[in-house]
């Protein structure tokens, strides 16, 4: 028997009560990262915009914020790409097909990639930061003619950490300039080695009008944003996706505060201009 909570717009339980989603399929992306394909048990799909996240529950273990990695406004399962790094993500990693997980949300701001229409779009991803950018990329490719040049700059620690490698080739075939680099090469690696910021100078985009979406570790986003601005982008046209501890997703638990910002409500996606004065302050 499955029963769904009513009145989930209010606390408690309300907004804190998860909806139930069943694991329909699962893909192991790298040694520690996997993608969950989830179907709502009540048949009502989750509507979201690219860049938003949900609070995912492993029953009896806990709840964590995870960005949506599936395309928006397209039929198909809800996808979350998860790295197995903590107790909840480890429990999610062990979820079997047919098992039920909890989902609350979606929460937060989106990439609003449509602001890049008529101009070039630059997506810069570090590590698992490619997952939250994937819905934005798929949105751009669905409306390819609206955009100018589309560039993906993608850096990971090692070649083994590269996500969505089949898809990267497909995107390249669709005319996306895909530049990949790794921090540490392996003997068989013939690609670039170095930080993702080194790709910014060689990518083909018009910095005067381009929209940049950046997602990765905070230090990577900071240096990437600075390099993009140095190349000529306006700080308003550089968007970053922040990560903070979150326990509610609706601005009540206080954990995600970044000085005056609630990252769950005001973010996770924010213009770099909004956080430029905060991101360099240690332990803020």
């Amino acid at each position: 028997m499955l029963r769904q909570a009513e009145g989930r717009h209010m606390l408690p339980g309300g907004a804190m009560v998860p909806r139930l989603f069943r694991l329909a399929d699962r893909r192991q992306d790298t040694a520690d990262t996997f993608t969950m394909m989830l179907e709502p048990t009540d048949g009502v799909p989750l509507e979201f915009i690219p860049g938003q996240f949900t609070m995912m529950s492993a029953f009896g273990i806990g709840e964590v914020p995870i960005s949506v990695s599936s395309p928006a406004k397209v039929e198909g399962p809800l996808q979350h790409t998860v790295r197995d790094v903590g107790s909840v993500t480890h429990a999610l990693a062990r979820t079997q097909i047919g098992d039920v997980v909890g989902i609350r949300g979606p929460y937060g701001t989106g990439w609003d990639v449509e602001d890049g229409a008529g101009a070039d779009v630059v997506l810069v991803a570090g590590g698992i930061g490619l997952a939250p950018l994937r819905p934005a990329m798929l949105d751009v490719l669905r409306h390819r003619q609206r955009y100018g040049r589309v560039v993906l700059l993608y850096g990971t620690r090692t070649p083994e950490d590269l996500l969505f490698t089949d898809e990267l080739k497909r995107w390249e075939n669709l005319g996306v300039e895909v530049l990949v680099t790794v921090d540490y090469g392996t003997p068989s690696w013939t690609g670039r080695v170095g930080l993702v910021t080194t790709l910014i100078a060689r990518a083909g985009f018009d910095p005067r009008s381009a929209l940049a979406l950046v997602c990765g570790p905070e230090v990577m986003m900071r240096f990437t944003a600075m390099a993009l601005i140095k190349r000529g982008l306006s700080p308003d046209r550089v968007r970053v996706s922040l990560e903070r501890n979150m326990r509610c997703g609706v601005g009540l638990c206080g954990h995600c505060q970044y000085r005056e910002l609630f990252v769950c409500l005001d973010g996770p996606v924010l213009p770099y201009a909004r956080v430029a004065g905060l991101i360099g302050v240690r332990e803020l």
Binding site: G13, E63, V85, V281
Partner: protein, 379 residues
């Protein structure tokens, strides 16, 4: 002609007020002495009130004293605010039951008893107003808080004897209750005797006063005389002049934003134990965490919301480590949130000047002194 209604209650009249409220279905919570501290508890009789009890408060110090005048509201504020009644420290969100691969999730019921809060100080009234903004007037409100708040009757009281750590005057939050109460009391102890001027602040309050007048059989409830009003006004104005602390709030938000790297934060960190006492006694701190509790078989699970504190290492934990591993950054976060970023988030300061964080800090860290040091440029 005074257009504010008012009555004077003698101590038996205060008992009658408690009786009337109880008979109308309110559970009265008011001050009483337990373990050497004024706490709130269910009150049935005026005999439970802290008669003749005052308090001496300073950094890391709280002592009760004998006042010798029988005043029942002669103390200031104890460690507890009222928030634990409206925003419990542990609250069940939902429970779940797993059968094979199926999970059944049941939202928790909200328990919202009708509570009459007796003896709410002006600082704590403002703290309630802040929680109304933070918890209820949000895109996603805390419905449990909202229903408890709606079931709350407030009997405020004017502070007559502010404590050594009080600074409500600086924060513009006291000492005289000016709004958001059903009834407000001013305790008078002088040559005219021990009595309480009671004034209504809401229709509900008016009705209770009408009921009191009807029920009074002797002189325990009287119409207030002009002299009573004058004496009551004096209680508040005298109290305002006797604040133990002060805080210069001029440009405070910008001052703290501009001084995120001030060496004073290191100095505080050398004294702060990160014990979380300040956040637990603070009547406006609202941060929570969630805990999953499961039985051994893993079939029965519950999710609880619990008070949390920005002073813990776990509070800001992300994979790989905490955003704020140092005590320096945690104290900075707390003080900056309370006095600066709160203004951006909610339109008011998050501090009501109750002084609890100073009194109950085991290291006697004083937010007014720390901010004062930053303002004066001291390391």
């Amino acid at each position: 002609m005074d257009d504010i209604r008012g009555m004077v209650l003698l101590l038996p009249g205060l008992q009658l007020l408690i009786d009337v409220l109880r008979e109308s279905g309110w559970t009265v919570r008011g001050p009483t002495v337990r373990d050497g501290v004024v706490v709130h508890a269910e009150i049935e009789s005026v005999d439970q009130l802290p008669a003749g009890v005052g308090d001496l408060q300073d950094g890391a110090s709280y002592r009760l004293r004998e006042r010798g005048d029988g005043a029942v509201f002669g103390y200031v504020v104890g460690p507890q605010g009222w928030k634990s009644l409206l925003f419990p420290s542990r609250e069940l969100l939902w429970s779940g039951h797993r059968t094979g691969t199926e999970v059944d999730v049941e939202p928790a019921d909200v328990d919202a008893p009708r509570l009459a809060l007796l003896g709410v100080r002006s600082c704590d009234l403002h703290a309630l107003e802040i929680h109304d903004t933070v918890l209820a007037k949000r895109a996603v409100p805390d419905a449990a808080y909202l229903s408890r708040r709606e079931n709350t009757f407030i009997i405020a009281v004017t502070c007559s004897d502010p404590g050594g750590t009080c600074f409500c005057v600086s924060m513009g939050t006291g000492p005289v209750p000016d709004k958001d109460f059903d009834l407000t009391l001013t305790e008078l102890v002088d040559q005219e005797g021990h009595r309480f001027l009671v004034q209504p602040g809401s229709d509900r309050g008016e009705h209770v006063l009408d009921e009191l007048m009807t029920r009074a059989v002797g002189d325990e409830v009287l119409n207030a005389a002009r002299t009573d009003r004058c004496a009551a006004a004096l209680v508040g104005s005298k109290a305002a002049q006797r604040m133990g602390r002060s805080l210069d709030t001029d440009g405070l938000r910008d001052l703290l934003y501009a001084n995120a790297e001030h060496p004073r934060w290191d100095d505080v960190a050398s004294r702060c134990l990160a014990c979380t006492n300040c956040t637990l006694v603070c009547p406006t701190c609202f941060c929570t965490s969630v805990e999953d509790v499961s039985d051994l078989s893993g079939t029965q699970t519950e999710r609880w919301r619990v008070w949390d504190s920005c002073f813990t290492n776990d509070f800001s934990y992300l994979h790989g480590g905490s955003v704020r591993p140092s005590v320096r950054s945690r104290y900075r976060q707390w003080a900056t949130h309370k006095l600066a970023s709160w203004v951006d988030q909610f339109g008011t300061s998050g501090c009501v000047g109750c002084g609890r964080c100073i009194t109950w800090c085991p290291a006697a860290i004083d937010i007014t002194a720390e901010v004062g040091a930053i303002r004066s440029g001291e390391g």
